[in-house]
Symmetry: C2
Subunit: 159 residues, 2 copies
């Protein structure tokens, strides 16, 4: 997708350069936020392909890597993932041998989902992919600006 740089905004009012956004839209954080999130997500998804996982799997694995076992509900609550979606994700991880389900003996409604040993290397590798993609996508920003951006976003995130 070669889009060039658009015309500098020397055009008459109401006559936008080919790739310019009206102020009304460019001023909306929502619009820009959405596009940026999609672009980064697409890049990360692509970078994970060789590992046979997707961003959601990565997120769950990071969590399990930090503390296994967890119930599916517990994982979902932390990652803002619905429990029905969690079923599919854990299904995928089990098929790929990256996680295992056991019964929680204390509360037999719950599963005790754990990361497998081979998966530890996969998470590590995926983490490097994540870093590399971010490094690439965030290149326009200084280290300090990246920290600022992250802090601002974190303050917006709702439970």
């Amino acid at each position: 997708m070669v889009l060039g740089k658009g015309q500098p905004n020397g055009t008459a009012q109401g006559d936008l350069g080919l790739f310019e956004l009206p102020d009304r839209l460019g001023g909306q954080i929502g619009f820009v936020l959405n596009k940026v999130a999609r672009q980064l997500h697409a890049m990360f998804t692509e970078s994970l392909e060789p590992l046979g996982i997707k961003p959601q799997h990565y997120a769950v694995l990071v969590l399990l890597d930090a503390s296994s076992p967890l119930s599916q509900q517990a994982i979902g609550q932390r990652l803002y993932i619905d429990r029905t979606t969690m079923v599919h994700i854990v299904d995928d991880l089990e098929k790929r041998g990256l996680a295992v389900r056991a019964k929680n003996t204390a509360d037999r409604r719950k599963h005790a989902v754990s990361i497998t040993e081979p998966a530890r290397k996969v998470v590590a590798e995926a983490g490097r992919m994540a870093d590399s993609v971010q490094e690439q996508y965030l290149a326009p920003l200084s280290q300090n600006e990246r920290r600022q951006l992250l802090q601002l976003l974190k303050r917006l995130l709702r439970p």
Copy 2:
């Protein structure tokens, strides 16, 4: 979805509070970006329901309000929307009487898509919705921080 505030992170390492993210994930801008974008998008979608349009329709209408007519391709390029997706969006707008397709006589491959007069009021109203949702969602940030956030995001957006 009542998630509470999570435990303060006074727990032993490896033992995360119920709603805490491991540093590895919380430190990834991608993860937080994605969730924030989805939350805002969901709120905006809901607020637009009474108007019978969705965020993509709003974006196209804003563009057409600023400069009509435009070809579908031209709209899509500015809004990062695929041309096949544009077909559906313009279909929807025509059904709702918010836009009309005419043939571009200079280049008869192209459509000349224009906003309709009644639609001008809809865009204006939708714009107020957008402002209100943003005001609500961005409440944790000062005016200055909102500007910062927008500027940082805009610098990331790729063509």
